[in-house]
Symmetry: C2
Amino acid sequence: MVLEQNDKLILLTNDDGLYANGLKTLIEVMEEFGKVVLVSTIESMSGMSQALTVKIPLRVKLLEENEKHRIYTCNGTPTDSIKLAVNQLLERMPDFVVAGINHGANASVSVLYSGTMAAALEGCLYGVNSVGFSLNDFSRTADFSVCKKYIRIVMEKIAVESLPPGICLNVNIPSLPENEIKGIKVCRQARGNWKEEFEKRKDPMGRTYYWLTGMFQNHEPDAMDTDEWALTNGYVSVVPVSVDMTAHWYMDKLTGRFN
Amino acid sequence: MVLEQNDKLILLTNDDGLYANGLKTLIEVMEEFGKVVLVSTIESMSGMSQALTVKIPLRVKLLEENEKHRIYTCNGTPTDSIKLAVNQLLERMPDFVVAGINHGANASVSVLYSGTMAAALEGCLYGVNSVGFSLNDFSRTADFSVCKKYIRIVMEKIAVESLPPGICLNVNIPSLPENEIKGIKVCRQARGNWKEEFEKRKDPMGRTYYWLTGMFQNHEPDAMDTDEWALTNGYVSVVPVSVDMTAHWYMDKLTGRFN
């Protein structure tokens, strides 16, 4: 892959592993926009949030290269992948960091746990236009073709005008036939949480262990300006996500409490 | 440990492991406020962000119990520890989730990578008053005694009046003698990022590997309302941190761009 001066450079990663169908679809669409460098783990890294690998060394392997893309595998988290790429693997700073297409939605508070959205946040911290895409379908055989149209629309928007510093996009696409999707809706993150129901089991030695399971609870199912509402009602949700987690609206009140 | 009806129940965790001095100090102070249940890994879990363990089963062990506290170890992340405690180990919902005292500051964008702050965010998602405490000193032998006074002040404030839903506190304490600390300052998260300088090495087989290192870059060193400024200038910084990552101020503009 030769990166010409006019080529856009697009850095991709995901958290479902190198052989996920969502990633294949993303590569196809992104090659329409520029030269693609992908860094991802072979295995899935779901729920890794913005975790960093600090206790074991990172290893990287160039797996495949052609005129349109280079594909690396690494043994780190999605966030490690972005850091490694920016600092060690890319010719220059990328024009876009794009993560996904995640198998399963990353709406509401899932943004906090998602490795996909962490990668977008990481791109954003480097000052790069960054987006995470997710399809609201966990199945391995999900049909990602419906995503292409909406990925194109979003990428064209941010190619024309960059996102403000410190903001990336969290895009969730409903798992519906294309003619049933009602369009794009800019939303806020719905209030909710996961209700965990750990499965408590015994291993063959009689020792207890737990598997994390859980069900999402939407605390405001009727709020039409949320990503959960949009997804449930057939819209593609687009949430501007900030790397600044400060609750600015509460600062004056809190200052008063400490005086 | 018997939990009486009037006892406050305080859930603790950290990301520096069970034998960290910061955790010992935190337990001592928290026992002044109620009955303490601690769930933590033996080893450190730094930089784990809000990662969840989904690929290996979780195991828990009751290590120690006396009149004032119960101490469990588990093999999960700080976020797993909070989830396991709330769902499997505690008599009832805790009154406080407290994480730390972290060895090293968690100011600015470190909130995104920190396992300590992730635990506080997790408590917050359960609707519990939650705080993460950090001392601006990475050394293993750091003197945590100076933290006690400020932990008491913060805990007394949130005991009197709960934090609003969806907000927890990120408290960073300078590593200074008590008489040099100028007081508490409510702040916003400073804008910055980590400039990574991976160390590239060869293993004995001649294969390349990388260690993540890095240096924090404050993008606004003169902004006096930030946590970085407060810490550098001898103040304890208190940032209200929101589980809602939506960039609300940008929603109208973004909506316009998609119409």
